[in-house]
């Protein structure tokens, strides 16, 4: 895939410091995603991957640094305004609205778009995840883990975002389901959506991605083409369990 050379930057983070109250989690984090790419952040539990995402989305505010989406500074915007600029988000642990049915969850995903766009988009998303259409009137809390993950992704796709952010979509899923989800992500990307992926399943993730960052203790320690990282001895040993 030669998507990474000429395209424009869709999202950039420059020297971000961020955390929770007095606790600093991210130190001098910089990241770049070009239009059309799939970029992955890998790293062990608790190093700050989700914190990076939450900072991008404005759920927590960075104490210094710049975040630009489509060349526009979004640091100080409220979350709902950042989302409306064209970001779809599938949270860690899926966080579907358990009290709403599948259709209603998708309706919320399309909160920022018109009713007409919603109706059109609903069919497209149902085509991508036929299982959701079958279960459209079922309460989200009654779905299996894999179905909930599909719903979380579908919900994030409802506004036809320019950037789709996924926080550990394979967490807790059987390998075969995880693979199915990754196949969908490849399709989604081929249809033109840029993807930022957080993943602990490093093997799957590096195969899917164009570019990857390795995070340790709130810093990026490696930043490379995914195909190159997949051959990196340190990455193989530390994150893929290959000696």
């Amino acid at each position: 895939m030669a998507k990474d050379s000429n395209n424009k930057n869709l999202l950039t983070l420059e020297n971000i410091e961020s955390g929770y109250g007095k606790v600093k989690v991210l130190h001098n984090v910089s990241l770049k995603i070009k239009e059309g790419q799939i970029v992955t952040i890998v790293g062990a539990n608790g190093v700050g991957k989700s914190t990076t995402i939450k900072t991008i989305l404005g759920l927590i505010k960075p104490s210094s640094g710049q975040i630009k989406f489509k060349n526009e500074l979004i640091n100080s915007l409220e979350t709902y305004k950042i989302i409306a600029k064209g970001i779809g988000y599938s949270p860690e642990g899926r966080e579907v609205f358990g009290n709403l049915n599948v259709y209603e969850n998708l309706r919320i995903g399309a909160y920022t778009v018109s009713k007409d766009d919603f109706t059109k988009r609903l069919e497209e998303v149902y085509q991508l995840f036929p299982r959701l259409k079958e279960r459209k009137n079922q309460e989200a809390s009654s779905l299996s883990g894999g179905e909930q993950q599909m719903l979380a992704i579908a919900r994030a796709l409802m506004q036809d975002p320019d950037l789709l952010i996924l926080d550990e979509p394979s967490l807790g899923l059987a390998p075969i389901i995880a693979e199915e989800i990754f196949n969908r992500l490849a399709e989604i990307n081929q249809m033109g959506t840029t993807i930022l992926l957080i993943e602990q399943n490093v093997n799957l993730a590096l195969h899917l991605s164009d570019h990857a960052y390795v995070m340790e203790k709130g810093k990026f320690v490696l930043d490379e083409k995914a195909s190159i990282l997949a051959q990196n001895d340190y990455v193989k040993k530390t994150y893929m369990g290959i000696a």
Binding site: E78, Y80, I83, A84, E95, F97, N99, I108, K115
Partner: protein, 297 residues
């Protein structure tokens, strides 16, 4: 003590049940989006009643206009409460919210005592609502019937709205998980304000109904109905609109029957009924007042 008597008492309780239902629905919606027992809801109800009373006796407006003014005043009160009392303390924990709302309730009530004195003021009832009709031995007032029908219609419309509209779905989403709702592009603050608007408007309707039914208003009038409405919301399952409405009716009927079966010297003990119900709830489910999975129906 025959069936006719019981049936008569139930009919008499229709308006009280309706008011409690309207209050309970407001409680349950606001609890849903904010995780807050809005103790000042009884005062929002009182403000509606006072506004209507003043619009009729002071300004000479007809009842329908007075009702609209009451709704405007209560909505304003609810929105100001949200903006200046609850929003500043958001996220500071259950106990802080609890105390803030208790303080707001006492503060508003005291303010009205200062302005108007603590005594009851008369709430006039228009002639066209004074009719009564008989079904055999059973008597029913037009007012009772109208309040009941009005409440049923409002509750049905509201349920439909919550179930089917984008705003209704968003309200349920915010109730379930505010942060995730924000991350889906929902401005949760505006959803919370919208919820206060609806809840306060319902409280105003209940307040006007109260004025009509009992013929007077006073600053402390919101206290007992407020508690009853809150308990009905708990009984109905927090976040459950139809549950709250039905529990409100049942609590109203229960209160009236409770005193109907006691010797008449105990008629002042009507509010005791809700405290007994509350005691029973807490006895069997000590966490019942605070923890609940929010599932709007």
């Amino acid at each position: 003590m025959d069936l006719t008597y019981i049936f008569q008492q139930v009919l008499n309780a229709l308006s009280l049940g309706s008011m409690l239902a309207l209050l309970a629905v407001g409680y349950t919606m606001i609890y849903g989006v904010l995780g807050l027992i809005n103790f000042a809801h009884g005062e929002v109800f009182m403000i509606g009643a006072f506004t209507a009373m003043y619009a009729i006796t002071g300004l000479g407006f007809p009842l329908p206009i007075a009702l609209i003014l009451a709704i405007i005043a209560s909505v304003l009160a609810g929105v100001l409460l949200e903006r200046f009392c609850y929003r500043p303390v958001q996220g500071s924990g259950d106990i802080t919210l609890f105390i803030t709302s208790l303080a707001a309730s006492i503060g508003i009530r005291s303010l009205f005592v200062m302005l108007f004195g603590s005594r009851s003021m008369q709430f006039p009832m228009p002639k066209y609502l004074q009719g009564i009709r008989f079904w055999g031995d059973i008597l029913i007032t037009d007012l009772n019937l109208i309040i009941f029908v009005f409440t049923v219609i409002i509750t049905l419309i509201l349920s439909f709205f919550i179930k089917n509209t984008k705003l209704g779905i968003a309200m349920r989403g915010v109730s379930y998980n505010k942060q995730t709702a924000e991350a889906m592009g929902i401005n949760s603050t505006s959803i919370i304000v919208a919820t206060f608007v609806i809840g306060s408007a319902l409280a105003a309707v209940a307040g006007v109904a109260w004025g009509l039914q009992y013929g007077n208003v006073r600053p402390a009038m919101g206290y007992h109905p407020g508690i009853s409405g809150f308990i009905a919301a708990v009984l109905g399952g927090i976040g459950n609109i139809s549950g709250a409405a039905i529990s409100g009716f049942l609590l109203g009927v229960g209160q009236v029957l409770f005193v109907a079966f006691l010797p008449s010297v105990y008629s002042g003990f009507r509010p005791l009924f809700v405290w007994i119900v509350l005691f029973i709830i807490l006895f069997y489910k000590p966490t019942g007042l605070f923890r609940s999975n929010i599932k709007w129906e």
